[in-house]
Amino acid sequence: MDGALEGIRILELGQLVSAPYCGKLFADYGAEVIKVEPPRTGDLSRQWGPFPQDQPHLEKSGLFFFMNTNKRGITLDVTAARGRDIFLRLVQQADMLIENNHPKQMRDWGLDYPSLSPVNPNLVMVSITPYGQTGPYSDWNGCDLNAFHLSGASSRYCGRPGDVPLEHGTFAADFYGATTAAAWGLAAVYGRRQAGGGQQLDVSCAEAIAALFVGSQNIGAYAQDGKFDRRTGVGMSLGAPATILPCKDGHVWILALEPGQWNGLARVMGNPEWMQLEMFQEMLVRAQNADAMYPLIEQWTMEHTKREIMDLCQAAGCPITAVFTVAEAAEHPHLKERGYIVDLEHPALGKIRDLGAPFKLPESPGGPTKPAPLLGQHNDEVYGTLLGMSSAELQRLHRDGVI
């Protein structure tokens, strides 16, 4: 069976998370993705790790491995005149370019959209940056952390009042930007004939979250009433229980808002008398009295393990779940049965497990089947077949440090 996106050729000129994850989504569903890395050092994620035994090694970065499965990798110095010429020849043969460089950097290299569009009017260029291509912050230096906290998400939704607003402990803004770019980018390729050609998509990781997440439920309300909520450190302000509580061996997400769920939780807890009190009878009222209620629930959770609590509560119709550690999530039998954890073989890392396709397409399965490329692994293949370069020519370019 073919990959769903077979026939689409993509160039990726990106590093770290946002552009590479976007490229990975295409590669894992069958598109031909050619990743272009600077010679010698490669994508910066090769230096970020995590590395086995914390020993830095350009070919052993876990982040690079995760972000670049199924891609072909070439090296090219696009800052050199000859390198740029070669890049333009690749652009001519591509449906899409995914990149996450600073906008000024792309202009300096002569690789901004106005420069590339005449070379290939059908090119869909997807530019993913923390702040976007326009607006007063577009020239700013930035990374995932800055984008996330510029979105309004942390100030409203994560952290204790008066204390530091928090991110998720991962590259959440980069992932949001990457996914947004993938959806809009694929649409632009899919409907290219209809739309009359290629175009540039300007994706800002901060804006994607500010709009889709924070904007959705907050902006209309603020615009109308001039009021807005701040993080509580506890959970929802409109309903309770909705919080994380400790238990015997970790933590659980306690969520029982609707009457049936609240009654289910009561049954599981042995119908304690306090749950009959007027102050706990409706989810909004419970939220107002959450400070009094959470310690009472916690007395019960502390007597049980997270698995027990999840099993009992789920059976009683409550959307209560264990807070899985990364290991517990990865080793859960559910994901095993669904084949979400896949085995790969990497020349430097050896046998290694990876997360599989994010969604299942029965007719055209996706997911990582080939490990991330070694630095310059596919130079001969790509330059030879796609651009018809001779091996003498390739050797020359290699010697001159262009590839």
């Binding site: 996106l5 689409i8 939704y157 997440f213 209309g220 807005f228 409550c318 517990e328």
Partner: protein
């Protein structure tokens, strides 16, 4: 601008409710698809009941808390408990390209709208089912809200103050994320259909999609057996220091600062006026800065405290340091960057009131996204039932009276 939007001609029957499913419809709608959310007054989508309401009038068509997230969707109203309504839904699906739903596994079958039923009507239909944990497996019936869904991915175990317990993210971050990835999934399947003529049933597990965000921590577990805990605002791979959020002058004002390179570090030092503490060996290289990050953050916080957040961001940016103010909800509407990019727009709802929603959050150079306000219940009934499905006026009235169209 272009002749047509990329997805013009694609019709979507969107059974998605609450947030994730509607955003899938929205994304496809912004890009030119004709999208109908199928809902009913018999079981009103719970987000329609969330305050605040436009003009303070409590009505399911006036809940502005989620109107932005449903923009781009149209709406037809069908009471799917009734067989005649199910039949109308099937007729609409027979004229559609895509079906989206985010109920639990089995619900669509009970409504006689399962994939096998739909494929018999329209062999190349693309159906995306987006339950919490996929269509099969021991956890398939797990009950979650978007709030708690993230706990079974591992991501909640990474969220909290460094060294402390996990802290709840107080809204369903996963929902709109899944909405957008859901649109990508549909487009991947449509691309396959274009090439082969075959539709398919997408088994979309929200858990597995969100768990991809845990990839970096999963790799550390896989390579080193290390299981990460709450990270605060520290760099997930300890590749930068400082990397955090620091207090500024005023109530609840903060700035994010990240330094990954020596050049950025020198920029930070210059901006701070080269204080003595920063020249000591404990901060002399990236590696030792990461090792001494707590002390470094404490020192830095003493310095940032005196500054206005926006002014400090400007100062640091002038020295090449990745820094930006931490914005709150109110800031979003006033911030010059979001204003310049037209992130939020004021629109007139079909019922006549003004509201502020988000516009095209991706800027497209050729095709301008089609943004229109979230629908009132059944706003497209006339068009869909009479023009598209060809019901006579009499039959249409009858079905409304019988609360089939409801």
């Amino acid at each position: 601008m272009a002749k047509a939007l990329p997805l013009k001609g694609i019709r979507v029957a969107n059974f998605g409710w609450v947030w994730a499913g509607p955003v899938t419809g929205q994304t496809l709608g912004f890009l030119g698809a004709e999208v109908y959310k199928i809902e009913s007054r018999a079981r009103i989508d719970l987000t329609r009941m969330l305050p605040p309401f436009a003009g303070g009038v409590r009505d399911p068509d006036r809940s502005i808390s989620n109107h932005a997230g449903w923009a781009g969707n149209g709406s037809v109203s069908l009471n799917l408990k009734k067989p005649e309504a199910q039949e109308l839904a099937r007729q609409l699906i027979a004229k559609s390209d895509v079906v989206v739903e985010n109920f639990g596994p089995g619900v669509m079958q009970e409504l006689h709208l399962g994939y096998e039923d739909l494929r018999a009507l329209k062999p190349d239909i693309v159906m995306s089912s987006m339950p919490a944990a996929g269509l099969y497996g021991p956890l398939k019936d797990v009950r979650t809200y978007g709030l708690s869904l993230s706990s079974i991915t591992g991501i909640d175990s990474l969220t909290g103050y460094f060294g402390g317990p996990p802290i709840p993210f107080e809204n369903a971050f996963a929902d709109p994320y899944n909405g957008v990835m859901g649109a990508f999934a549909v487009l991947v399947a449509l691309s396959y259909r274009d090439r082969t003529g075959k539709g398919q049933h997408i088994d979309y597990s929200q858990q597995e999609v969100v768990m991809q965000m845990v990839g970096p921590a999963f790799m550390d577990y896989e390579l080193n057996g290390r299981v990460a805990g709450p990270m605060g605002n520290r760099h997930p791979l300890a590749a930068a220091a400082p990397h955090g959020v620091f207090p500024c002058a005023g109530e609840d004002r903060w700035i994010s600062i990240a330094v990954a390179t020596d050049q950025e570090w020198r920029g930070l030092l210059t901006a701070m006026g080269n204080p003595e503490w920063a020249q000591t060996p404990e901060f002399a290289s990236p590696a030792v800065r990461v090792r001494n990050i707590s002390a470094l953050h404490e020192r830095l916080a003493e310095w940032t405290r005196a500054f206005n957040d926006y002014e400090l961001a400007q100062l640091l940016q002038r020295h090449g340091v990745a820094a930006a103010p931490v914005l709150n909800v109110a800031d979003l509407l006033h911030d010059p960057h979001y204003r310049a990019r037209g992130t939020f727009i004021e629109v007139t709802h079909p019922l006549g009131f003004q509201e502020t929603i988000y516009g095209a959050y991706v800027k497209t150079s050729r095709t301008e996204a089609n943004v229109h306000p979230g629908p009132s219940i059944g706003q497209d009934n006339d068009h869909v039932f009479k023009e598209l499905l060809g019901l006579s006026e009499e039959r249409y009235r009858q079905l409304i009276e019988k609360q089939v169209i409801y």
